[in-house]
Amino acid sequence: MTEARLPGTFETAWLVARKDLAIEFRTRTAFLSALVFSVLALCIFYFTWDESIVTAADRAPGVLWVVLAFSSLLGLQRSFGVEEQDRGIDALLVSPISRESIYLGKAIGNLIFLAAIQVVVIPALALFYNLRLGQPMAIVSGIVLLAVIGIVAVGTLFSAMAVNTRMAELLLPLLSLPFFVPILMDAAQATTRVLAGRPVSESWPWLKLLIAFDLVFVVACTLAFPFTLEE
């Protein structure tokens, strides 16, 4: 008799992520609304400053990070909201996979979701704010990826918590935004310098801090996640 091999943490995490992405791909509601929200916000922010006082290129980094912070909350909200209907989370909990792989799977799903939005938002930013494409934008995309990893790490955990409370929609931003603060500070400082044509070495302290944040919070949130589920 051969014993069936149990899949490892990352294999099962990928299964969870694929399930979430398949749901999203078939309905497309959250993705489209987050995408339209982001592009709409880019346009609104253009008109909140006077062009003759602050040029578009100068406000582009700030706009990018504000829009990213708020649009990511839309995707994160859905991450565990979708499990709450028909108690899908119970099915996940009784399946023979570890709690950590549920968290990692959810986080990977959110990461792909948010990255896909940025694939549209970054070119749209360059278009609306007249930024030069090329190397600086490639570096900015890298910074965005680093920031999104941190945002997803804490956001996925708080989404799991917020969904079980009385005011889920309001609580997620309240819990997440203070944790986004160091990410946004570091990323905005680095982006401003890169878009101003400064060498990357000048942004290095902030990028190092961003990477450290990602590492610390991916580990901490993976370990903390099992405590947020019902026992």
Partner: protein
């Protein structure tokens, strides 16, 4: 087991919320302010504005004691699952929020007189504490929004620990933006304190009085939490 009607049970003994510790703390705080106002010399450059430090600095100390206990008790709760740790974490967070608010209000008052500006974003401690205030507020709101007591305890413990991890990152992020407006340390520094002895004594007495006040308030809030839980238990029995 026959159930005894609630009215027939002997009343539980309740410790008063504000006991001798609170009375002692109030007397100490009043004493410190009489000394600070009437018996401590004016600072030569800052004048009367400097006196706010006898409120501002001790309030910070009390706030950090509260935040520290909350973070510590969050770890203890996840480890031992003891509801007393959860209650203590809650009590400390609430008291910390009060002292953080005192610190954040007195700081700008002094800043306006001496820096010439109410608020300075690039100042390390100011920005850090503002976000600490947000995290503590979120912690208390989360507690209010979670209905099941065991879930509330686990959720808030997780947030308490993550909040403690967040602080160094905000600290470093502001630190790298390098301008610093806060006065350099005058008491806790490698060389001897550079404060005149009368002022130093007043400040140290204020630290002592506020530490007492902080513990008295945490104790009162803890006892209140105990009563609230006992009441919830009785109500559940009644409804069964």
């Amino acid at each position: 087991m026959t159930s005894v009607p609630l009215s027939a049970r002997p009343a539980r003994e309740c410790k008063p919320l504000f006991g001798w510790l609170f009375a002692l703390a109030v007397v100490a705080v009043i004493g410190v302010y009489i000394r600070a106002i009437y018996f401590t010399p004016l600072e030569a450059l800052q004048g009367a504005a400097q006196k706010i430090f006898y409120l501002h600095l001790p309030a910070w100390l009390a706030a950090y004691i509260g935040v520290g206990i909350t973070a510590l008790m969050s770890i203890v709760y996840l480890w031992l699952h003891d509801e007393r740790a959860d209650r203590l974490a809650e009590a400390s967070a609430e008291v910390a929020l009060i002292f953080l608010t005192v610190g954040l209000t007195t700081g700008p008052l002094w800043g306006h007189a001496i820096w010439g500006t109410w608020w300075a974003w690039w100042d390390l401690r100011l920005t850090l504490t503002l976000f600490l205030w947000f995290v503590v507020a979120a912690y208390l709101i989360l507690r209010g929004a979670a209905e099941d007591p065991a879930m509330r305890a686990r959720y808030s413990a997780v947030l308490g620990i993550l909040g403690a991890l967040l602080i160094p990152f905000i600290h470093l992020s502001v630190y790298f933006s390098d301008a610093r407006l806060h006065p350099m340390p005058v008491v806790l520094k490698p060389s001897a304190p550079s404060l005149p002895p009368e002022m130093l004594t007043t400040l140290l007495l204020a630290f002592g009085a506020f530490t007492l006040l902080c513990f008295a308030l945490i104790r009162a809030r803890y006892l209140l939490g105990e009563r609230r839980d006992a009441l919830a238990e009785l109500e559940m029995e009644r409804d069964l």
